[in-house]
Amino acid sequence: MTFEPGARVRVLPSEKPGHVRTPAYLKGKVGWVESLIGEFPNPEELAYGHSGLPERPLYKVGFRQTDLWQDYIGPAEDFLYADIYEHWLEPERGTT
């Protein structure tokens, strides 16, 4: 699964234990792929002394703040970027 810039994505609500680089507050949230940053060894494997290979694509993903926090104080245009590995993303096909 490769994502193009602009693709709507949902962060998997996985409860995978251990060293993961996906913050809890983004799990299950819908955003968009801003860009592909590059490919890096998987930190979830690196942390335990493995090679982390094959490298995994890492995306810059954007989220509207008002989609993350119900009581967000600020304009609807405020947003947040986080860097999310491809294996934590699934396509979001729901309507906006």
Binding site: R21, P23, Y25, I37, F40, Y72, D78, L80, Y81, A82
Partner: protein, 208 residues
Amino acid sequence: MSDHHSHEEPVGITSPYAARIRAIEALLLEKGILTEPEVQDSISYMEARSPANGAKLVARAWVDPDFKALLLSDGKAAASELGMAPEHPAELIVVENTPEVHNLIVCTLCSCYPRAILGRPPDWYKSFEYRSRAVKEPRAVIREFGFEPPEGGEVIVHDSTADVRYMVLPMRPTDTEDLSEEELAELVTRDSLVGVNVPRAPSRTGHG
């Protein structure tokens, strides 16, 4: 204090964390995983880096549009051009503040920070309070540091969750047309490179 530590221990500080780090360091040396010169090199590496590096990058970008373009497209290349050696596996992305957009950097998972350029992060950057509030109420956090994000503008938070380190390119303060690059660099604070504030205003000496 034992005499085989050639780097200085802060006087009067005996926190359990410091004791634990000393014990781990001693074990790593004893088992031959690290050598004392490697530990010293690592300390020197970190102490050679400071927010002054970020200030130099910003001041050059303010006076040189080509350098600014490079800084925004390839942060490591720009740092290398000014003689900094940002050798670190993580990418460096520099994000630009404009009248419409104010950027704020945080690492909610730990304390990722562009150490290869700026050195160690400030303690507040690593605090639970900053890490949890910066993503949820960034405007309130910025206001508490002393800057009011402009009405009608966007605040964009960058959570450094993975293999990228972020630095803000703040806006050049007004009334700085006559300042040299070195004088401009002195206006650039560490806080402005994280986005919790903006650079200092120039001192008005000599102007009514």
